[in-house]
């Protein structure tokens, strides 16, 4: 029987369904439904929420695995290393509690909005995306997975099953700064995710910093990252050159000029506030 809605109860059934037909994926629905206001929903929907095994956070020695159905609230409540503080902070800024209870972090990644708050944090954490089909499992660095504004490298028969994050060092700490026009329920005008690792003398051993809402896809600031190595937190300075790869646009939330002008302050706050 051809059906328009299918809610498999295990991963395999889901993958088989994907191998047979093309589906629109549904997880928490917090992007899916808002895009369909007033419309009769006719597309074929594969509802992933029955695949309980995908709602999990697993730690091994060298990596942390975040299953595809992990919600923002799950992230907030999980006991994750300090390096995840940015992601944890972000989880409390995604809509209200209702959105955080339903929305998944993988859905946020798959939706690939320029303003997706998970992405700068995940870039800073050097996350990889795990994709599965009945045939194969692929693991792509997040930067290779997100191709553009709402474009991802998922093939039609693939499911994003989770995110894989290399286990951060004990010293590593994360942070997130989000700029918006109101206190809650606000889409980022710009946001910054950072993860900083220190050596014994509290100098920066490694800095990962990514900026969102200032280009079609969130971007790492590699030049700044390189120059920061060996510096103390309080000595970090942002130069225009560091931000050269950003391409902000004018939109309802702010002008391009404004974004460029404030981003260095946001980056500084994010780094210094870890």
């Amino acid at each position: 029987m051809m059906r328009n809605y299918y809610r498999p109860e295990n991963l395999n059934d889901g993958l088989v369904a994907l191998s047979e037909n093309s589906w629109t994926m549904l997880a928490g629905g917090t992007d899916f439904y808002p895009a369909r206001v007033g419309k009769h929903i006719k597309e074929k929907v594969l509802d992933l929420t029955g695949i309980k095994e995908l709602r999990s956070i697993k730690e091994t020695k060298d990596q942390i695995y975040i299953g595809a159905l992990t919600t923002w609230t799950d992230i907030f409540k999980a006991n994750l290393p300090e390096a995840f503080e940015g992601l944890r902070k972000a989880s409390k800024t995604i809509g209200g509690v209702q959105t955080q209870n339903a929305g998944t972090i993988c859905g946020n990644v798959c939706n690939a909005s320029p303003a997706a708050d998970s992405i700068p944090n995940l870039l800073a954490l050097e996350a990889k995306v795990q994709l599965m089909s009945v045939k194969e499992t692929r693991i792509l660095p997040l930067e290779k997975f997100i191709l553009g504004n709402r474009k991802i490298a998922r093939k039609d028969n693939e499911l994003v099953t989770g995110l894989i994050i290399p286990f951060p060092s004990k010293e590593a700490r994360g942070n997130f700064e989000k700029l918006g026009s109101r206190a809650f329920l606000v889409i980022s005008i710009a946001m910054v995710g950072v993860v900083v690792d220190f050596n014994e003398s509290r100098e920066i051993e490694n800095l990962n910093v990514a900026v969102g809402s200032c280009s079609a896809v969130s971007k790492r600031l590699y030049l700044l990252e390189e120059e920061a190595i060996g510096q103390k937190l309080q000595d970090i300075e942002i130069k225009p050159l560091h931000l050269e790869n950003l391409e902000p646009i004018n939109d309802i939330r702010g002008t391009a000029a404004y974004r460029i002008a404030v981003i260095s302050e946001l980056v500084l706050r994010a780094i210094k506030g870890v």
Binding site: R3, P34, V37, H40, Q98, L179, L185, G254
Partner: protein, 920 residues
């Protein structure tokens, strides 16, 4: 819906197992409401932006509108209907009622569920925890203060719900008479009711601001969708295909013919089963568009280079307003200092959480319309002329209204469903989607104001000049009202010896601008208050002192030459803020000495605003009756849109009649059952209808006194069919069932009518446009992050002269809610067609954006008003934005001339000013 797409889903609903047979991808909110009949869960956006649909799933708060029904399999679901058990309210609901946390009540179910999820986990939450838990639910009425308080207080011993004793209703914190229904989800809003067999209506709307269209052959769509019953077009409108507020300007078509003038204009309406009307595409309709360059913005309207928006108005000027007092030029020439400026504001959405909805049902030669409205009687005339029938054939039955703020003064779904139901002779319903509501209904006028003020050496205002252009959009709506009201109020509540003001309402191909809390005066207040600040600065006087010095006082003549004889509490309001003002300013300046990036500042704003229509008769009639069984009913035509008219009218009538308020039943706003009490607008209901309610109560009392032959002082008791009047001579019994009843079953009735006295304005705008004015002032402390341009309002003190406080809880509620909207106007709200057609991108204040608010109420009695009362509805909003903008200036030295003061605008102003002016 294909049968094969449906399957059964079983879950626990409010403690009992339920199975639904439905498409599993359907939003659960829809299944709850339409299949299970649980209408307590509200829908305000279907997009996760408003929170009205919040329910508990396995104890967690979730948006029902973002939940696929299939996901509920095996879950535990609690909706608002599951809170109270056996009619007994929970302590949370109880607390909401006692605190006045529900105004219109449309957000209340969502708020209750969000709060309950917190209380289930944290029995004694902190304020921060409450803010977090409520962060996903918007309220447009209350400003959140009372909601937060209600949640926190719910964990303490509940305040009992008690009604005031006889004679003590006025002035008491009586709870809302319609509060219970709002807390249990039983209240029936516009989308909550329709005949079972109703057809659905969906309007097809223009995606272009200006275009010619052709809709050649809708029959194709009819053949494709078996459930599509009719495609309604302009030809189907039986009467006049035009509507509008003014009897002589019916310029907005029900369904456009060939041409559209704004994005969102309706050109056709699909009627049929819901799935079909939601499925039809423009291609199915053979719809083609030929867009033209549109008149956008005031500049383009004034330049008039393009074809005029409406051919009858070649210079795009809909109307003008003018007021002139004495010699403005002379005033300026004698001034010690003169300051001037230009201010602009953006279109603003009313943002009520309830989108427009209703149903129409034809009954023979009559039509009944159930709809959310602020003005049932105007709707009645409007629908009659669109259908080409007599007014008496139209009955408007207002639903509970989930917020209005002026937006539901214009008709919306009414003519569409009326025409459809009339033509098809079948009940038809329509519920606007949020994007449709945003795109098609009126906005607050964007303005461009040029204003100038002068003062003498000792700080007395000498002259004031004001030129205001108002973008009224594609159709007239309330444009002329705004153009008239603003010049009268444009100086603020100050005595100005010489003034001149002129306004224009200009057509553009943008959303029609209509009535929105203050009819243009909130925009004007930004200019007059900025001028007061700058003048004070120029002569080195404290800005509050400057305002006190110039405030209108009893005995002064206004801009229109009206002598203010009574109830002018402006100086009291300002004086009452003085000690706070001095303290707050000082503490901000101290703070700034130690803070380089975060700067604090304190600003102030004043308001005066006439209660009632401008120089126009605007009577209200209220009736009260006692049935033979002793039931007392107030027939209240004054629409309660959340502000609490139902409660206020009962309080007033109860004291006038001399019986307890708790004995009253109420019938609201039904054109068949109540008399015309005018519009719920212009802050007139408490003042005008309230007076009518007092007179009705007094008349009925006089009848009883006469009938029972007792003295004026007698007390009245009604118990069943026995009415006893007691005075010093003893008890006098009236057996109600012995009296021949009127048509509606009442045996004793009283009716009161009040029309506030005004005079017409002459060619210089001189006269007495309003019978009374409300006055007020607010001060706001803000915090500006100068590196990012973000502004947070920390605290506000609001002093308002309301004549007489009929109900302190409700007055506070109006002030809190007005401040929230004023804050939105100042900092974040900006409606841009196409871009902000959802509540994701149209930002309104959330629970986390509100400052702490202190309300100071001044009672300078108004002899004409009921027990001395006058209005507050609009006054509360007007001073807020000026106070906030003044606060930003005090903090940073920057002048904001274009509102809202979004982070990018504040930041760029700071950059331009080069940081040099901060108050430290």
């Amino acid at each position: 819906m294909n049968k094969k797409d449906k399957s059964s889903v079983t879950f626990n609903l409010n403690g009992a197992p339920r199975t639904v047979f439905s498409s599993q991808i359907r939003r659960f909110s829809d299944v709850l409401r339409e299949d299970l009949g649980l209408k307590g869960t509200k829908v305000g956006c279907d997009a996760g932006d408003c929170g009205a649909c919040t329910i508990l799933i396995n104890g967690e708060q979730r948006y029902a509108c973002l939940t696929a029904t299939g996901q509920l399999d095996g879950c535990d679901v609690t909706t608002v209907e599951g809170l109270s058990k056996n009619g007994e309210l929970t302590s949370l609901q109880h607390s909401f009622w006692a605190e006045g946390a529900a105004q219109c009540g449309i957000c209340t179910p969502g708020m209750l569920m969000a709060a309950q999820s917190l209380l289930n986990q944290v029995p004694h939450p902190s304020e921060d925890q409450v803010l977090d838990a409520l962060s996903g639910v918007l309220c447009r009425c209350t400003g959140y203060s009372k909601i937060i308080k209600a949640v926190i207080n719910s964990t303490q011993k509940p305040t009992p719900i008690s009604y005031p004793e006889v004679g003590n209703a006025v002035g008491s914190r009586m709870v809302k008479v319609d509060g219970y229904e709002k807390l249990t989800g039983e209240e029936i809003f516009a989308a909550d009711k329709a005949p079972e067999n109703s057809l659905w209506l969906r309007a097809i709307r223009s995606p272009h601001a200006r275009a010619r269209f052709s809709l050649k052959n809708p029959e194709k769509a009819m053949n494709k969708y078996s459930g599509l019953v009719k495609v309604l077009t302009a030809e189907d409108v039986p009467g006049n295909n035009g509507f509008g507020i003014y009897p002589h300007i019916k310029d907005q078509p029900v369904l456009a013919q060939d041409n559209v003038r704004f994005r969102g204009e309706a050109i056709a309406a699909l009627i049929g089963d819901r799935e079909s009307v939601e499925s039809v595409t423009e291609e199915d309709l053979n719809l083609t568009w030929q867009p033209f360059e549109a008149v956008r913005g005031l500049e383009s309207a004034i330049a008039a280079n393009l074809d005029p928006v409406q051919s009858g108005f070649p210079d795009n000027t809909l109307s003008r307003g003018f007021v002139k007092k004495c010699e403005v030029e002379k005033g300026f020439s004698e001034s010690h200092k003169i300051v001037e400026g230009i201010w602009t504001t953006s279109a603003i959405e009313h943002g009520y959480i309830e989108p427009e909805a209703g149903f129409a049902n034809r009954i023979g030669d009559n039509i009944e319309i159930f709809v959310c409205t602020q003005t049932p009687y105007m709707d009645q005339s409007e629908v009659a002329q669109v259908l080409g029938i007599d007014k008496n054939q139209v009955r408007i039955i207002p639903s509970a209204v989930g917020g209005g703020f002026g937006g539901k003064l214009d008709i919306s779904v009414h003519p569409l469903i009326a025409v459809a139901a009339w033509v098809l002779n079948h009940p038809v319903r329509c519920v606007y989607t949020r994007p449709e509501s945003l795109a098609s209904t009126t906005k607050r006028h964007p303005v461009r104001i040029r204003a100038k003020a002068g003062c003498s050496k000792d700080g007395k205002l000498t002259a004031f000049e004001f030129h205001g252009d108002f973008n009224t959009g594609a159709y007239a709506s309330w444009g002329p009202t705004v153009a008239d009201r603003v010049p009268i109020h444009c100086t603020g509540p100050y005595f100005v010896p010489n003034m001149l003001s002129e306004t224009r309402a200009l057509f553009t191909n943008e959303s029609p601008s209509g009535a929105f809390r203050g009819f243009g005066t909130p925009q004007a207040a930004i200019a007059h208050e900025a001028l007061m600040d700058t003048l004070a600065e120029k002569i080195c006087m404290d800005p509050l002192e400057f305002r006190i010095k110039n405030a209108l006082r009893k005995g002064d003549r206004t801009n229109t030459g009206q002598l203010l004889e009574n109830s002018v509490g402006q100086t009291d309001c300002l004086e009452s803020l003085k000690s706070r003002w001095v303290k707050w300013r000082k503490s901000a300046e101290e703070y700034n000495k130690k803070s380089a990036v975060i700067k604090r500042g304190v600003g102030s704003g004043s308001v005066w605003y006439g209660c009632g229509n401008t120089s126009m008769s605007n009577p209200s009639t209220i009736q009260v009756g006692i049935s033979k069984k002793g039931k007392v009913t107030l027939y209240n035509g004054a629409m309660d849109i959340g502000q609490g008219a139902n409660t206020v009218m009962v309080q007033i009538c109860a004291d006038a009649l001399g019986i307890p308020a708790s004995q009253f039943d109420i019938v609201m706003g039904d054109t068949n059952l109540t008399a015309d009490a005018g519009k719920t607008s212009a802050s007139r209901q408490t003042f005008v209808s309230g007076k009518a309610s007092q007179l009705a109560g007094e008349r009925l009392r006089a009848k009883i006194i006469h009938l029972a032959e007792v003295s004026d002082k007698a007390s009245i008791h009604i118990e069943g069919e026995k009415l006893t009047a007691k005075d010093e001579t003893g008890e006098h019994l009236i057996i109600l069932s012995d009296i021949i009843p009127h048509e509606n079953g009442d045996v004793l009735t009283g009716e009161g009518t009040f029309d506030p006295p005004t005079t017409p304005l002459d060619e210089n705008g001189q006269g007495s446009p309003y019978a009374t004015y409300g006055f007020g002032a607010q001060i706001a402390e803000v915090e500006v992050d100068t590196s990012l341009g973000t502004t947070k309002v920390l605290r506000i003190a609001a002093a308002h002269d309301v004549g007489k406080i009929i109900n302190p809880t409700q007055v506070e509620g109006q002030i809190h809610g007005g401040i929230a909207q004023g804050l939105g106007l100042a900092l974040m709200e900006e409606y841009i067609q196409e871009v902000s057609e959802n509540l994701h991108d149209y930002l309104m204040p959330t629970v986390g954006d509100m400052p702490s608010i202190e309300v100071i109420l001044i009672e300078d009695s108004e002899p004409l008003g009921p027990y001395g009362a006058k209005g507050i509805g609009e006054h509360a909003l007007i001073p807020t934005a000026p106070a906030i903008i003044g606060g930003i200036k005090h903090a940073t030295g920057i002048v904001i001339n274009h509102l809202p003061a979004t982070p990018d605008r504040v930041f760029s102003a700071i950059q331009k000013a080069g940081h040099k002016n901060t108050n430290s």
